[in-house]
Point group: D2
């Protein structure tokens, strides 16, 4: 870590900083510049917090960390991509997977129809929300337990593994019975107690990026799960909050490239939430493949105009099938095979 | 609600929209413009979600809501500011309150020393974190239950009500015994299941704005608490995420003015987290008063250079006492009395 | 346009709004909702500004425009993509083009070496800055007129058309002699007098998106050029300012898709400035192709470690040649041919 | 400057960096950490650009500047606030000034009426736009030269100095005759050639912050003017672009505090453009005073409902007079006297 002192710091102040650095277990190296003095603290920064404390000294202008703060999920810890077993599938092993299904589970009839359609089109995992975190308390909040029973029936009917969002620890047990991948949504991306709870369940986790999370914070959230004993984390970029409002969020395609480069976890992209409008989903799906994503998560509804949530961004099964077909040349060009479930 | 149709929509498409509007319980009024047709849907928008569904129709370009989405917390529902009883104090009744204390509770000695100092300087509520949501799993996570015992002792020693952050429902019972105001932090600002749980406890809640929450989303989070039977919500602006990195967050002073105008809840400002640096705290505190805030929340530590979290933004007790003194002329100019606890 | 009145507006206030709408040449249609009254103003919104005026009436809550504000550059005005002749090339006609070269022109030797290398690798246009807008007045500001002479020599040597940034009207005449495409940089994206000046020169223009421009503002900037008689505008997305600082800017890949869909101009992507780091350039270049971009603009330097500006984002000629080669399968999958200059 | 090397850099690579540092005129001090090696380069960083070049070396992870990049405008260069003479007034000398007037000059009658009203209410400078940079080419672009004649007449009538925006160098001469303070608008905040031109005119400059400018970039824009021989710069914060859209921009009140602390120039606040809505102007004006601003710039129109631009944010003369009166207690509490022109 580098400690930058304010200009005109006295010798006594420099000594104070050196002592503080030593007290915290680091070895201080002081360099007197033309205008400012800096103290380089040599030692393992794993326990970062300790030196940022020095910013509270009056003579210190800022403290600059040098090491990365995540370890277990980094490429330095493991060069290859973590392969995650989900039912019959392996995610992160060079096969491209598409998670598809409605925003919310609404009825047995709806879910079965969509499940069959997306499987026929090529999806390998089935999504459907039963506990919905909604901005307004007056909006539809999901079917809850009843929805889980519907998901279970759909899974039995088509044989696709289930991805569904968890919003509170108390739902964990009832979800474990049905759900194959626990999704942490953008609103809970920094809900660390929930991250710990899902980690300890041992189930694979799909971790969405928070709408205001930096890439570093996203990877540190994954580190929470890994540190609690669960390396099976799938990252999912779903757009960040920016000033642009032509799209619901701004898909940060560079974050996908960066996460693939820095981190050993598979990375998915959710173009539905990123765009918030169905006309852009094909283009963003293609961008995700070209950037090296390991999969997509796409909202599909058989009657979008009757959907109880996110109607404007859900594709019809027909459009979804066209989309999957249109991705084939790009997947081939990217040396990716698309997954399959019999 | 206003439904804007794509240009060149056919008569048949307009009829489809009108029927859909009628089916959803609204009365359609169609207006043919020079370039576009719009359909105004007359009816109560309380259950908003229903009409946004129409965005999924191919001929619809966008659906524009007209009514506000929060009700219970709005000035329209109650013109006066909600007065919230916290121990011997009333918040929101024209008296200005300062919540002060360390970022984290670290030891009995630390907490007692700070509690006495901030009380002597004029603080009327005592803060201290025992369950800390930290970005990295390797950072100090708070003393937990042990910290609650320390808070209890500090409360008995100085007689100030306690404000402390809750991060998961399972800690609620143990906190209720000690804590007078439950704080929802920025990272949990959209953790709706936690909002519901604290609402049902009946305790006053200090609700921080999420780092990417719009003012509307912040007020809707408060609406969740109010709708679950607890009107005792104190809003707290603590800065939002922007491109500017000279400060840790960007204090959105307009949001304070807007919340005061639109909403019937008291509004506090947290300059410590907004700035992330102690040199700006006096200026931001003054801005908060001038804008009409009902109180401040300020981090104070007796040895900031040894603090286990947020060291760079905590004031010493001496600086805090100077700050409180310096606010007096401004409070007077704003017709605000500063609160007092004997 | 839709005028939303405040709740509890009186009949007299509604009449005032209706009269104002009529005075401004629109036909008012009033719809009384359950909570609010709205007035739909029917008429051509081309001259938008007129009705936003009504927001100044005390009884008006907001005015919502319905029509799009750009016309000449819209797909509605012209469904096909504008084909732009630049020397021997056609941009926007289904052929993919790569603009390459150094951030700044530094010397004859540097420019000739790079020009030959990028041409050999497959670039079809040559870039090089001679007037550099730099954040600090103490940074290298470009070679100016001397740099133009170097660009001219490079153009003669390799036969590639030249793209170079213009920062002030007074340089226009000297640039017209050498430069084939005038670039408007992000910092001048709202410098409307400069847009008008380059428009009137008749030269093709490469218009970068401003770092805080919405897509609508970007297209309106293009509309300024088109309205001044010059339809030959190439849009260039180069990333926007967000809270994320792992990359210099955040490439808004959705904006590329949206611009292609809404607007009839060719769209390029500049991954060098978006990322600000060379390791992400290949991934972002691929994303651009997959999204439907018409070309790329990439910074290449023969000795990046000696570059006088933007050293960290410039590729070596070797890396550039590898990059171009690696794009071939993706271009093929996207039914794009790469351009060529003999 | 601190150069951070990638982990596992070889001794040879470290030597290369050391040599490069030495070649650029700095003295390298190498510190081998547990995981990474850093090289501290000792020397004057005034010419920053030189070392960032090292980021192009493959073994370098990042280069961290230590010194500040602005000099002439810093408090270190001059501890006191620069006092700027504008006609009979001194700005920055402890007297608070209010610039008021319409967004656009529209007619002689309008301008004279507003000029008299704002002077009577306490404004000490008169504003009015004659060259308007508008987002759409179809919006009103200002009266141009004719507007200047109106401004001149208004100045003679009421004796207030004139502030007006310049958008291109070619208007400079005609403006110099009438205008006392040349305003650089947010859209031209990085138009460095315009900054140089106004600097050389010697006139005081009101420099608005760009909507995506960091505080550092804003101060560096001021440094451009100072370095070109003109120290008479008034900074003006007018809100930045963020995700929040309840206000037109987000007033960055911390930036006002920071600019006052870091920089020796007077700082004004423009609550009209920050809020984009008149109901928040009083609260934001008070926040500006409390934070230590040296003045305000407020839009006033005698008939806002007929204004040709920015109608929703302009105050009537009556509301403006009330506002000024309401600021008196706060100015007194902040030890500020309000300016006066006889």
């Amino acid at each position: 870590m580098i400690i930058v002192l304010k200009s005109h710091s006295s010798l006594k102040e420099v000594k104070t900083v050196e002592k503080a650095v030593r007290d915290l277990g680091y070895d201080p190296h002081t360099i007197r510049g033309v205008v400012r003095t800096v103290v380089a603290a040599v030692g393992d920064e794993t326990s970062h917090q300790s030196l940022e404390i020095l910013e509270s000294l009056n003579c210190v202008e800022r403290v600059i960390p040098i090491q990365k703060r995540y370890k277990l999920v980094s490429r330095e810890a493991q060069p290859g991509t973590t392969q995650i077993k989900v039912g019959p599938l392996t995610i992160g092993g060079g096969t491209f997977h598409v998670i598809a299904g409605p925003c919310s589970v609404e009825s047995m009839e709806q879910m079965l129809a969509i499940a069959k359609a997306v499987k026929a089109a090529g999806a390998t995992l089935l999504r459907g929300g039963v506990f919905k975190p909604r901005t307004s308390p007056y909006d539809f909040q999901g079917l809850g337990i009843e929805g889980l029973a519907i998901l279970k029936a759909a899974k039995q009917a088509v044989g696709l593994p289930i991805v569904s969002e968890i919003t509170r620890q108390t739902d964990l047990n009832s979800m474990l019975d049905v759900v194959d991948v626990l999704q942490i949504g953008a609103r809970n991306a920094m809900n660390y107690s929930l991250l710990e709870a899902v980690a300890k369940s041992g189930k694979p986790v799909l971790l969405k990026r928070g709408m205001a999370s930096t890439v570093e914070e996203w990877l540190l959230a994954a580190e929470y799960i890994a540190k609690n004993g669960n390396p099976n984390v799938i990252l999912c970029e779903r757009g960040i909050r920016t000033f642009e409002n032509a799209t619901r969020n701004t898909l940060d395609i560079s974050a996908v490239a960066l996460a693939k480069q820095e981190c050993n976890l598979p990375v998915f992209v959710d173009p539905s939430h990123a765009a918030g409008r169905r006309d852009l989903i094909p283009a963003l799906s293609k961008a995700a493949i070209a950037t090296g994503a390991d999969g997509l998560m796409i909202e599909v509804h058989n009657h979008p105009e009757e959907a109880l949530s996110d109607s404007s961004q859900q594709l019809t099964p027909q459009k979804f099938a066209q989309l999957i077909k249109s991705l084939a040349p790009l997947l081939k060009a990217s040396d990716m095979k698309i997954g399959k479930v019999k």
